[in-house]
Symmetry: C2
Subunit: 349 residues, 2 copies
DNA sequence: AGAATTACTGGAAGCGTTTACAAGCACGTA
DNA sequence: TACGTGCTTGTAAACGCTTCCAGTAATTCT
């Protein structure tokens, strides 16, 4: 760190390097490295001296240099299909908070639907030795992608669906859907409609399909007939939930007495639609969703809780175990919990 | 890249280095670097040969090595106060998409309210020479923080509020609020309530305060009295908008005929509250919000559009100008647009 | 045709760390 | 007293690039 005249002219602050700290503390750079990184033994007095010198010089290790020399970046790549949805934003928030606490950076990779874009993310970014590990949120990795990560020795943790060969935090989607349906059945409903996902939403982990399967299983186990006319697909949004519910409830005969929507947003849309049709809630119609969305409480929506923020935190914990060389956490299901509010009740007599 | 026996035993794939590419292409590593980075002249034939070799070896430059040698990281730090809000998630999505298109990484720094955490972000992360530049979304930087970035020669672009000395994309909050209010005034309303922000939400750029000022200015300019009882604070959420509206509308005398809410979510909450109170919308009550939230259309909410996704994209464009050494874009106001839907109409006779 | 550019290429010096290795030292042990 | 054992420290070799410099070949100009 020799400040040239030019540097001074430009008023450019020269950042201190490990060498400066070493000089200031009167030790070798190797010792500074050991002292600051906590790898290797350093006497208490030296440690204190190095710390003081580093602090006085506002020294921070150069991430590039450290990364180049050690192969560790302290940076985790997070793969998400999108950001602007309550679920993803919440998971991301949890991940980012937990990683920051642990001193890791969070680098965001939004995988659009375009395949070549996705390939680019892998080849140009992830494999560019930019990250130490990867968290994939609701992204189903292909065999080649998994292999590439494995070959590069990059730990991987999944959230939202089982990734073969990697610890994953996942829901038993079928069980969750079945539980929601069973709640309605237990209340005495027999004509139960289901608003699920549409073609386009049936992506990576076939979540809509699996939720529908759970719904149908619960119906069959209760000896109720599954009526295809009581199924409608939507895109998980409130607006399409509203539309779908109008469709379901508008028919004068054989109107369902309950709706199980595959997301809280669709469920709320359904409640609004029912209200607009003049139905009394929950007397004329029970509605249950999935998520425990932040709006669920306000609408009195019965739902099944998943705590995405928490999921993000847990995923980080799992990942850190692997990074630190501990017994890698096994994948395990996320706990789910039925939250009964005022939107579900017994069917009208 | 000499594969040792141990490496082979571990089945660890040795990633190709620039040296391997140079050998395969029959040129020097300097030429490979020039060919692949586009800096410096390389003949067409050499370029092709290098590209082929790189592709065959699955070569990607090491970010650490490149960063160490050049001082450029191709990584942009994004500062946000939170992620899980429609606005922030949308801006983030825009930023991330634009950066990826340009070949940059997006590293996310969520600044919590805790001050020392915030300091840590600056000292340990941003200044750790991890990023080439910074985008601050609705984060007001202190003088010291600005100086630090400037000293390190890290370009900075702000979104959401003017940052002295840095190009910023900002709203004229007062003008926006005045426009919303004027819309109601033009329709003939005189008793116009405002649901704004509370103490806690009045953070970095004092957005609630400025919106309130715009509301009051418009009222005064129309010679309408500003009635403090017609102002209520909330936290920008639908739930608190609901509560606030109940409060405003529940009083039997002198009920307002219109509500201007400082966010669409609060506006929607207000509409729901009005409905629950048995009011006919929009006949008995006009409601206007700000945002053009994704739900606004469904609720027929009149609002003022801000396009956060677009803002993110624009911020990236501004930043890239600076990075590339072009005339840095000046800060400029975000365009706003009144979108009239069915939630506003003339007051009851 | 010779001179002056210009285009292309290779050698080599960093960039700022980490870490294997060796050396020095203080101790306790036989 | 001589010798291993740990702890602490320094030396120096990577890590994989970028880029300055110099040299050669190709091109343009006078």
């Amino acid at each position: 760190m020799v400040a040239t005249a030019l540097d001074i002219l430009r008023e450019r602050v020269i950042v201190a390097s490990i060498k400066d700290v070493a000089e200031a503390a009167g030790v070798s750079i190797a010792t500074v490295s050991r002292a600051l990184s906590g790898r290797g033994n350093v006497s208490a007095t030296t440690l204190a001296a190095v710390r003081r010198a580093a602090h006085e010089l506002d020294y921070v290790v150069s991430a590039s240099a450290s990364g180049l020399a050690s192969g560790r970046t302290r940076n985790i790549g997070v793969l998400v299909p999108m950001i602007n949805r309550w679920y993803y934003a919440s998971v991301l928030e949890g991940i980012s908070a937990a990683l920051m606490r642990e001193g890791y950076d969070t680098t965001l990779y939004q995988l659009s639907k375009e395949v070549d874009q996705r390939e680019k993310v892998f080849s140009d970014f992830l494999l560019r030795q930019r990250v130490d590990a990867v968290i994939a949120v609701n992204v189903e990795l292909g065999e080649a992608e998994m292999k590439a990560l494995h070959a590069l020795d990059k730990p991987l943790v999944g959230v939202g669906g089982p990734l073969p060969g990697a610890p994953t935090l996942f829901w038993d989607e079928e069980a969750v859907a079945a539980l929601a349906t069973e709640h309605l059945i237990a209340l005495g409903h027999t004509r139960i409609a289901h608003i699920g996902g549409s073609q386009e939403t049936d992506q990576d982990f076939h979540l809509p399909t699996r939720r529908r399967a759970g719904y149908e299983r619960a119906m069959r186990e209760a000896s109720l007939t599954v009526d295809d006319r009581l199924y409608l697909g939507a895109d998980f949004s409130m607006a399409q939930g509203y539309q779908a519910a109008k469709q379901l409830l508008g028919h004068p005969v054989n109107r369902p007495t309950a709706i199980f929507a595959a997301s809280d947003e669709m469920a709320i849309g359904a409640m609004l639609a029912a209200r607009d049709l003049g139905l009394q809630l929950p007397h004329d119609l029970s509605v249950i969703g999935i998520d425990n969305h932040e709006l669920a409480d306000m609408f009195g929506l019965t739902t099944i809780e998943q705590r995405p923020h928490q999921q993000g935190e847990t995923a980080v914990a799992m990942l850190l175990r692997t990074i630190r060389g501990l017994e890698p956490a096994a994948g395990h299901p996320i706990e789910h919990r039925l939250i009964v509010r005022s939107s579900t009740t017994r069917p009208p007599a």
